[in-house]
Amino acid sequence: MSTGALYNDQGSAEAAVEAGQETTPTSSGSGAAFGLFSTDFKKNEDLKEMLESNKESLKLEAMKRIVGLISKGKNASELFPAVVKNVASKNIELKKLVYVYLVRYAEEQQDLALLSISTFQRALKDPNQFIRASALRVLSSIRVPIIVPIMMLAIKEAASDLSPYVRKTSAHAIQKLFSLDPDQKEQLIEVIEKLLKDKSTLVAGSVVVAFEEVCPDRIDLIHKNFRKLCNLLVDVEEWGQVVIINMLTRYARTQFTSPWREDAMFDENNEKAFYDSDSEEKKGQADVKTYIMDPDHRLLLRNTKPLLQSRNTAVVMAVAQLYWHLAPKHEVSIVTKSLVRLLRSHREVQYVVLQNIATMSIQRKGMFEPYMKSFYVRSTDSTHIKTLKLEILTNLANEANISTILREFQTYVKSQDKAFAAATIQAIGRCATNISEVTDTCLNGLVLLLSNRDESVVAESVVVIKKLLQTQPNQHSDIISHMAKLFDNITVPMARASILWLMGEYCERVPKIAPDVLRKMAKTFTVEEDIVKLQTVNLAAKLFLTNSKQTKLLTQYILNLGKYDQNYDIRDRTRFIRQLIVPSEKSSTLNKYARRILLASKPAPVLESAFKDRDRFQLGTLSHSLNIKTSGYQELSEWPAVAPDPSVRNVEVIEPVKEWAPSVGKAKQSKSEDKFYSDDEEKEENASDSSSSDDSDSSSSSSEESGSESEEESNEESEKTSSDSGKSSSESETEPKNNSKKATRKKKPADSDSDESDSKASSSSAESSSSSVSDSDDDSEPPAPQKKSNVKARPKVEVKSKKEVSLLDLDDFSPAPMNAPKPSVFSPSLLSDLEGLSLSNVSSAMQVTTPSFGPMKTFELLHHMTGKGLSAKYHFPRQPCLYQPSMVSVQVILTNGSDHTLEEIHVGDRSPASLHIHCFNTIERLEPRASVTVSMGIDFSDSTQAANFQLCTKEDQFSVSIQPAVGELLMPSTMTEADFCKEQKKLLGMNETSATITMTTANTSSQTINKQVLSVANVGVAPSSQNNFHRFAGRTVSSGALVLVSLELKESSSALLTINTEKSIMASMLLQDLKQALTEA
């Protein structure tokens, strides 16, 4: 009873009505007692009972009805206590509905909402990433100030969660917390900074939204992430793309110089590495400063271009505005086609796109002129679409197309939509003023329209004619008199006022008619609209000055009427005019100038587009659409005169460090200094690995990181090894197989080329990319069976390796064969055996070998003319780099072509600054005509971006750059046919690129093919049982991703070339190169 009464007070009348409409209550006894008041209390009581029942289905039914109430905007807050109890329900749907309810009402019922918090806190620790994410979502959506610290903690924790999905949710939560408590800004910025570094495409969009909301002015946070964001952009989900593109537009405007100069023709030069030295010379010679686009600027433009093909109209628009605001003028036009395509979309999309095109077409007619016909109006278009199309057509009009446009306009004038017809007349007026050739034609056309039956058309014509006549009044007194005749029939005030103004302005040209018009006006003055009255007063004044004999009395009469008018504007005007024109003693000075004041020649109005001033807003924004500055609008800054330091965007080479396992980084550092493998290193490695937390859910990010982890080993000795992050699951069943292969293994070493014995052997038994999700590599406490197999494994390997190099100590051997020496001499099958030992069924295919073929293509690094005698050439020796496994080794031949000795040749500044180069030791002296060969290591990070650095002598510095062909970024790897096929199967779909090529039959011998392929790419030949099948395998140097090339010869000299790799960009580049090489051969 008491609770019922309580609800009675609270329940709103609305809820009462609403509840009454619902199905009849399964009435309870107490409900019936309240029947008198209204049914709704019974109702809510009923819902409450249902919620408190033990039956899930009843609870669910109740929640569904409550959600129904919420959706209709009815108040259901009094049920809060009953609902909140169900927050911990096992039933997912019920739980979700409770969440919906909580988020809606928690703000109103803060104390009770706190009851639910512990449930969420518990869920935040759930092993399931989706549960963690949804708990954070709801927790952060509850707008209760008291839980701010809890939210902050949860966000921070989630920001370093292993699951990218949870991290994404935390990015969303940042904004929610910020809107709840802006004081948390500083802490939140820290989290944002951290999340901006995230490599997952899932997170990128959301964190940029948070950035835009919380700290859009902290542009410095973007520097380091700029390139990453550009590169990830294509893979980010569409909504994130929009936000990122908009943010990057703003960023670019502060960081790069304007590409819109006269000499912006050369902007592509920077892409050609070899021009660099030239341009430097040029700078010295002349003061002409050629514009060179910042490579990052170019990167942004290049990476956004494919998004023009997006199906999401907002993405297309975002790219279009980016090009409009950032691209060199001659490149902007590539967006036209896509924008025109959007016009096929929904009405609302058309509206916004047309607005933007209207603004663009004012400045750049040429962009849209070829698509003029797409802007022709259809009778089914809605009025504002029609008006916008008209606007654009008018903007596009020029001497060449005006006749077509006017013909089109003629159709529009006849439209049944009168507002549109009126707009067309204005458009004709604008065309007439803008293009002098057609002014007369337009004027005649407009005069014809004066006899139109529709009043609004006539009125609009009058207004436009008035404006046109002002520009050239002399010849057209007949038009004025024609309009005077029409005056009686025109009732639209604006048109009447226009005619009156024309009469007054040109009263000397129509001396007979004007006084008569004034006479008519005197009769109707009192019933006219204000605007007409004002013009009547003006006309009277002007006539009084020019023709006072005829109009003196009329003028006085009108001034008297005006004096007592209800509108104070008119009274004011009348008083002013009277003082001005009627001679009196006091105002004589002013009186003298009356004629000059009233009949001064007035400048003709400029008929401008309504979109003229919209370009002050960034295109595509809400502000642009409304033409007012909306809250939260970020100004697009002007280009800086001098670009800020571009090196701020340089990023340290992808650190193989996981945030949660910082010790790995330390291990790496120590390694690069260590000359030999040491036990310490092993331990450190293991320690760090074991410290890395293990989460089987984190798929994408951790696999990426594990990829980089495999790069970290390096060694001054001739071995190049890669650490293994193999799977922790043991595979003791591979043992028998190993044994059986042992025999064959022994034979195989003969295969290894003797000429390679001095070359650097490399081995990388890396992890699988996709399945080694749980890279809890060699745990410090591996499971028992694993240990067992390891024990067995060791002796075998040892026997082998001792035979070959005897470099390794038994103790040095880690559970996974991290330091497999000289693997190039191992047969593939042996390697697979070793892999079996390494407990990974996947990694078997991953051995990297040295090349069997090394083409010597030499490239010029520095010409002796540019280098003041010093010339440099380089080639890729295709040997594993001594210095670090992730580096590509480059040999540079330095020649002194001058007649004096060059001293202290060394490598100077490099860009990007993060570029890891292992420089050659400074060459103290280089005698004339002497040359020296030095080797360097460059970490290209698997991209073909040029490595720029300076080659310095004692006196000079020369900028040089090395641009690797994609094939040089690989290292060969040996694998069996079976392994090859297995790996290939894993890299299907997105990871597969293929092309059909035509080859001359002469070149289909396996020898030629091998030669051609190897000349292009540093890959290893994989055995193939079929004659028409050629296989090559390699791994990218930097990240160790597998690259599989297969060539299937078909009849009639065609062949199918397939490349399987995760690195899709490399794949397509490699495909191109191979295609060329194979077809040319």
Partner: protein, 418 residues
């Protein structure tokens, strides 16, 4: 970003509201109603309306206004595009997107909206992911649910959001593996009084219905890919591959989706498949007008022109029309003055004709413009641009799928000015 969403029906009732941030009073819609009053037609309501504290961005579909409330700067297209996705999702779930359907499924609608936006920023808009999260209601499921009390919410959590192919769910199984592709082209044209073409262009789409087991990887190649001038893809299509080889290579989403929409390069002359002979006249002083309309096929490559529908907005002065169709039936709505004539199939031997008189308001002057005629038609088994699919291959799965490709040409915005 998006603060709240209001759904408003044709009679101006707010029948659903959803808030993603703090609650915005529904009185904000008053500004929308004001704008609605000012606009003469429902379509003329401006999509973006500023109010003192908020901005309203609306789309109109199926006679329902979807009004989003925005508080600060956001690209308007972002919101518009999202709202259209919401409508598409509803349509996908309920078959139709009507007020009744939304009201009947209010809980599902709410669950969907909850998943689609987080704090106003789109979270999951892929229909495949949503369907894993929330099962679409079917009659059978509704019945089972009522009896057993089970739910529409997916039992296991979706994997799609995390996978490399977010548009496809895992573990798809079919007994009949089939992949159907419909190449549908639309002709947009404006024909002037004398029958000459003012503008004509072809826009096409390839809609697919793919029901394949596992993770198939499809490639689709064209005989004449050069025809395609401007294209936009479903996110599944590998752009690089298209750039390099003009081949569509993709892992398809499960079920129905639009693979590609394209525009045929404007250099190609567009074949106009029908012609119209018309004679619509009003005489000064007479209260009668003459109406005579004949349709005929032209450049159809021997294919029949079907489902022809002619509609025309007659001048306001027309009171009624007294016409005689040689085939099909016509209607004239005296309120909206809309004349529609359902012609059906055009028989080249006996051309369809609609002839008769129109009665004008007595004393009213002759209308000074002639009505525009809108024509709809369909031509089966032909893509008017000549686009042809060369082959469709599947990789990645062992079985042999059943493949089918259908061509169709339709009238888009096809107008004849008279």
């Amino acid at each position: 970003m998006i603060h709240s969403l209001f759904l408003i029906n044709a009679s101006g009732d707010i029948f659903l509201e959803k808030h993603w941030k703090s609650v915005v009073s529904r009185s904000v819609c008053d500004y929308f109603f004001e704008a609605q009053e000012r606009a003469t037609e429902p379509e003329n309501v401006p999509p973006v309306i500023p109010t003192p504290h908020h901005y309203l961005i609306s789309v109109l579909r199926h006679r329902i206004y979807f009004v989003a409330v925005i508080q600060s700067e956001v690209p308007p297209l972002f919101v518009i595009e999202f709202l259209h996705r919401v409508v598409d999702t509803f349509q996908d779930y309920f078959g139709v997107c009507t007020e009744a359907a939304i009201k009947d499924n209010v809980v599902v609608v709410y669950e969907l909206l909850e998943e689609m936006l987080d704090n106003g920023f789109p979270l999951a808009t892929e229909s495949n992911i949503l369907k894993e999260l929330i099962k679409p209601p079917t009659i059978l499921r509704t019945m089972v649910n009522t009896i057993t009390g089970s739910t529409n919410v997916g039992e296991q959590l979706p994997t799609g959001q995390l996978s490399v192919v977010p548009w496809r769910r895992t573990g798809v199984k079919y007994t009949n593996n089939e992949a159907y592709f419909d190449v549908v082209e639309e002709i947009d044209a404006i024909i002037d009084k004398s029958g000459s073409t003012i503008t004509a262009e072809i826009q096409g789409v390839i809609d697919a219905c793919v029901k394949l087991t596992g993770m198939p990887d499809l490639t689709l190649s064209f005989m004449n890919p050069r025809l395609l001038d401007d294209v936009s893809f479903h996110p599944c299509v590998r752009f690089k591959r298209w750039e390099a080889e003009r081949i569509l290579s993709f892992i398809p989403p499960d079920g129905n989706f639009r693979l590609l929409s394209y525009h045929v390069s404007s250099q190609n002359l567009v074949a106009i498949p029908v012609y119209v002979k018309h004679n619509i006249t009003f005489r000064e002083g007479s209260s009668q007008g003459r109406f005579d309309l004949t349709l005929g096929p032209k450049q159809t490559m021997g294919k029949a022109v079907e489902s022809v529908l002619v509609s025309s907005q007659l001048p306001r002065g027309v009171l009624n029309a007294n016409l005689n169709p040689s085939q099909g039936a016509y209607t004239f709505d005296p309120v909206t003055k809309l004349l529609t004539w359902d012609v059906g199939k055009i028989n080249p031997q006996k051309l369809p004709n609609l002839k008769g008189t129109m009665n004008l308001q007595a004393g009213a002057s002759k209308p000074d413009e002639n009505p525009t005629i809108n024509i709809q038609f369909k031509i089966q088994q032909m893509a008017i641009s000549g686009l042809k699919v060369n082959r469709l291959d599947m990789y990645g799965e062992k079985y042999k799928p059943f493949k089918g490709i259908k061509y169709m040409t339709k009238a888009g915005k096809f107008q004849v000015r008279t």
